[in-house]
């Protein structure tokens, strides 16, 4: 087992929590004094920094939301002046106005340190060639991974997204041992490689995938690991927290949230009360060390479960399980909550359909109508209409069973659904049009 910073990574929980309390306390004082926004929010919440007497008192603090960043566009929440900033990132704004994140040199250092620990925990380091196929630019994925990978002494192959055939050639020619990209882009790479007659297993040195920036499932992991002969690790983060920051370790049992960097809570999204470890709820994160854009109790909207036991790898920092859905992604179909990840999970159990899918939500009269389009796998087609109808009925049956809502399934030709190089857009909701 290789460690980046064993002193911190193996620190007893009690010591970590003492450290967290000190960091939280000074963060709250600093914001109360220097952030007009958070000062006002604490006042209207009737809480003063002196009320934070233990780490558990964090629950007395008011939340922050994505809309706070949008409402204060571009930089009204910053607690550093422009001359102290060394970088901006800007989120794409697919769900609304874009949001801007600023970084001081210290902020970048902590972000990079977080990733250095994470990449080390999946066994990467000096000697590895890490292909960064996240977009470089305003999106945090590319540059974030880039500096994290350089920090651990790996060789970075900064391919960014696009031009997939060239990506595969470079992967082969330069012996990439790891790739960082979205899970849907890795699927695309796998398919393009097959068309080029390249077997990722045999013809490349690729052994590790660092996959994130969109939700994916355990079954998809198993399928990709078998198909491409790699170990696939989940990575987590959003631009508001800095960018991609946390990954699973080789145990693959949730991503470690470094306690000296972030304080994680799981809360009930309705009552807003903290939940116990093991209970499913909304992920709420306080970044304990951030200068330019501090985030306190930030509600990203991701649904998951926390495990606070010491990991089998020896790391004492809590783990958060794979994101099970995002509150924003949640579809309400005839009053029932449906997450696209549930659909993906169910489809993965059916060999006759492929890995790609598209969800179309529409309204027929007063009723919501859920249509799932999936590709009929090559080789699972016989000449018989009845056989195809059976495949479709089976998919409909499985989806209905796991979603508790009626689903229409449309079988489409292999390769006909859109492929995505960045974050995939699998849901078309026609109801709002």
């Amino acid at each position: 087992m290789v460690w980046w910073d064993p002193r911190i990574e193996e620190m007893p929980k009690a010591d970590l929590q003492r450290m967290q309390y000190k960091l939280l306390k000074s963060l709250v004082y600093r914001l109360y004094s220097f952030s007009p926004f958070y000062h006002d929010r604490m006042k209207s919440h009737k809480v003063h920094p002196d009320d934070i007497k233990t780490l558990a008192d964090v629950k007395k603090l008011p939340f922050m939301f994505k809309r706070d960043l949008r409402d204060n566009y571009p930089d009204k929440l910053f607690t550093a002046t422009q001359d102290e900033l060394v970088r901006y990132h800007v989120s794409s704004g697919t769900t609304g106005k874009p949001t801007v994140v600023g970084y001081t040199q210290n902020d970048l250092n902590i972000w990079t340190t977080s990733l250095a620990r994470a990449l080390t925990s999946v066994g990467l380091g000096r000697g590895d060639v890490i292909q960064v196929s996240y977009g470089y630019g305003l999106f945090t994925g590319g540059l974030g991974m880039h500096y994290g990978a350089e920090r651990i002494g790996a060789t970075v192959l900064p391919t960014s997204v696009g031009n997939t055939e060239r990506q595969i050639e470079l992967m082969q020619d330069l012996g990439a041992t790891a790739i960082a990209c979205t899970p849907s882009y890795l699927l695309h790479i796998g398919e393009v490689a097959e068309k080029m007659g390249i077997d990722i297993r045999k013809d490349t040195k690729l052994r590790t995938g660092i996959l994130g920036a969109e939700p994916w499932t355990e079954r998809m992991r198993i399928r990709m690991e078998d198909w491409l002969g790699i170990k696939a690790y989940d990575i987590y983060g959003t631009s508001e927290l800095s960018g991609p920051m946390f990954t699973e370790c080789t145990e693959q049992k949730g991503f470690h949230i470094w306690s000296d960097i972030a304080l994680v809570e799981i809360i009930d999204p309705k009552t807003e009360e903290p939940l116990e470890a093991g209970e499913k709820g909304e992920l709420t994160i306080t970044i304990l060390q951030k200068e330019a854009l501090p985030m306190i109790r930030y509600r990203i909207g991701d649904i998951s479960v926390m495990d606070d036991e010491v990991c089998a790898c020896g790391r004492t920092h809590p783990r958060v399980q794979r994101i099970q859905g995002r509150v924003d992604d949640m579809l309400i179909i005839r009053g029932i909550n449906v997450f696209p990840s549930q659909i993906e999970h169910a489809l993965m159990t059916i060999p006759e359909v492929g890995q790609h899918f598209q969800i179309v939500v529409d309204r027929k009269g007063a009723l919501d109508d859920l249509l799932v389009r999936v590709e009929l796998t090559k080789g699972s087609f016989s000449d018989k209409i009845n056989d195809i109808m059976k495949v479709r009925q089976n998919v409909e049956h499985k989806l209905r069973g796991s979603l508790n809502v009626n689903v229409d399934v449309e079988l489409v030709e292999p390769g006909s659904l859109p492929r995505f190089e960045g974050k995939s857009k699998k849901v078309i909701d026609k109801r709002s049009l």
């Binding site: 009929l376 090559k378 699972s380 087609f381 016989s382 000449d383 018989k384 209409i385 195809i388 109808m389 449309e410 079988l411 489409v412 030709e413 292999p414 390769g415 006909s416």
Partner: protein, 144 residues
């Protein structure tokens, strides 16, 4: 007795039910200079199956597969019919009397007469029955 010569290789292509899919298939076959001898489309809710007898089934299979189509070979048989009123009845009666169940069928009428293409459950068995009943089966070599 060699009944294999009566087994004809049909190509079956899975197709979404939207405009342009047939054109895509036909264009691909045309490009490869493959001639379509007989063909039908079966439609089910939301998708279809295009079935065709072509002069070069292997070539057609490889071409369509390389374009990403879901394609399969299916064994069919072809029965000669008289190209005049009552011609279909004559053949259909023979099949019915012989107890042959038809899964699906399509027909064409060409310069050498009319032909009924049949997909049946038990191909070997059907060939035997049709031959002994007096109807004429067409050999594969006529098609490809």
């Amino acid at each position: 007795m060699d009944n294999k010569k009566f087994v004809i290789k049909q190509i079956s292509v899975f197709s979404e039910n939207r405009p342009g899919r047939l054109a895509a298939i036909a264009h691909a076959l045309g490009e490869e200079k493959i001639n379509i001898l007989a063909f039908s489309i079966a439609e089910a809710n939301g998708f279809g199956v295009v079935r065709a007898l072509v002069d070069h089934p292997e070539k057609a299979h490889d071409k369509l597969q390389s374009l990403g189509f879901n394609i399969a070979f299916t064994e069919v048989i072809a029965v000669k019919m008289k190209d005049k009123p009552g011609g279909l009845y004559e053949v259909a009666k023979i099949l019915g009397d012989a107890g042959i169940n038809i899964e699906y069928s399509y027909a064409y009428s060409g310069k050498d007469g009319a032909v009924l293409i049949l997909r049946v459950d038990q191909v070997e068995d059907a060939i035997k029955k049709i031959k002994s009943s007096g109807a004429t089966l067409l050999e594969r070599s006529i098609f490809h």
